[in-house]
Amino acid sequence: MTVGTTKAIVIGASAGAVEALLTILPKFPKDYPIPVFVVVHVPPDRSNILVPLFEARCKIAVKEAEDKEPVVGGVVYFAPSDYHMLVEEDFTISLSSDEPVNHSRPAIDVLFESAADAYGAGLVGVVLTGANQDGAAGLATIAEAGGTAIVEDPTGAYSAQMPTFALAACPAAMTMPIEQIASDLSVRGNA
């Protein structure tokens, strides 16, 4: 088992994200030791509704990421709307208002690529449901850096497009139905 070596988890989701994440994040135990970064595509002019929604249903801490914030284990960090979220090599979070990537800000690729640099083989990247191709390039970068790539089974996903593009870009990725992703991730804290 390699579960004890996981240093961080990054998750990207778009259309159908809330339901998929509700299957995963509430499964994490209260003393979960790993930081979890989540990018969900949300409209730019909406203040972030995700944090209150998940805070009420999760056992672990949930917050909107802040610029320059040191990363702490056992916290789910959501990217704020209209900003990219990046992880620095000193394990702090950076936000940026660089132009949208894949028509998205926040973009999954931006998070995945920066986290791959910061965590290398200790990173687990997960691409969930979505109707675009964000996350595919980033997932390939994670795999190249020695990290673990997981993709939601497109046949069961609310929207198959994002998982399908991710699998095409990163053939090494493991494909799992959403419930299995939830149980896989939730035991990664058990060293």
Partner: protein
């Protein structure tokens, strides 16, 4: 762990940029700067960041092209309309009490925020008594700001933002549409001084009543943020205002105690007595 080759190349290029041209990006947040350099490398057709560094040192035409990747921010006019509404409704009443005003748009890039302020100040009847200082480190961006030309496809969003910010006029009063471009009225620039200025290496600017610097310091590391905030503190009159981007704040800064929160949600601060 050995640092990867790209990280070494990034550091060397930033050092070369500083030593040769005095543009100092060495204290920018690393993840974004690396992303931008990789993007520049691909789009400018260099085989590696080292190859780009070679061109930077030996081919003068490389610098402006690279700077556009490293600095230019695509913004919107009246971006975050609630910020401009707070300026209009809460800050402007204070500014009215001064016979003359100085406003600094720091890191103005291609001018979207500058024109937003110029229009807001005209609507509020403050324009004639105001001098705007619009500064940036990128000469190409400053040149674009001075031209005041934006593509028409962006105008719908600008117009929506302007209305949401409490605009008292129609944005179309301020530009002429021409060949797919909106050319903003040059009278909006009569009170503006454009200037090359770096928050990283340059000194205090002038005694300001209001400084707006949004989504610029977010790219700085903590010590550099502190330097810029110190510069703003020294450049503001007592009780002068400082407006930051919606995800920027002073909470973790060495200068947290030099400013009071004026509008917490909109990230508007007020300078305390020295």
């Amino acid at each position: 762990m050995r640092p990867n080759i790209e990280d070494i190349e990034v550091e060397l290029l930033l050092e070369a940029l500083y030593q040769r041209y005095h543009y100092d990006f060495r204290h920018y947040a690393k993840a974004s700067i690396k992303r931008r350099l990789v993007q520049a490398c691909t789009q400018l057709h260099f085989s590696s960041i080292s190859a780009m560094q070679n061109a930077l040192l030996h081919d003068a035409s490389t610098l402006p092209r690279l700077l556009n990747y490293l600095t230019v921010q695509v913004s919107e006019m009246f971006r975050d309309p609630s910020y401009f509404r707070a300026i209009r409704e809460k800050v402007v009443p204070h500014l009215r009490t001064y016979p003359s005003l100085k406003v600094w748009i720091a890191g103005c890039s291609t001018g979207e925020e500058l024109y937003s302020f110029a229009i807001l100040f005209r609507e509020e009847g403050l324009e004639d008594r105001t001098i705007f200082y619009a500064t940036d480190i990128n000469p190409t961006a400053l040149h674009d700001a001075e031209a005041g030309v934006f593509t028409l496809d962006r105008i719908q969003k600008f117009t929506e933002n302007h209305q949401k910010s409490g605009g008292r006029s129609s944005l179309s009063d301020y530009y002429t549409a021409n060949y797919g471009r909106a050319v903003f009225d040059k009278s909006l620039r009569e009170q503006v001084v454009f200037s090359d200025h770096s928050l990283v290496t340059d000194a205090v600017f002038a005694e300001m009543h209001l400084i707006s610097c949004r989504n610029v310091m977010i790219y700085f590391d903590r010590p550099l943020q502190d330097r810029a905030l110190g510069l703003f503190h020294e450049s503001l009159l007592r009780k002068g205002f400082l407006g930051l981007g919606s995800k920027e704040n002073l909470r973790f800064s060495a200068h947290a105690n030099d400013f009071a929160e004026f509008d917490r949600a909109e990230k508007i601060y007020q300078r305390l007595a020295a």
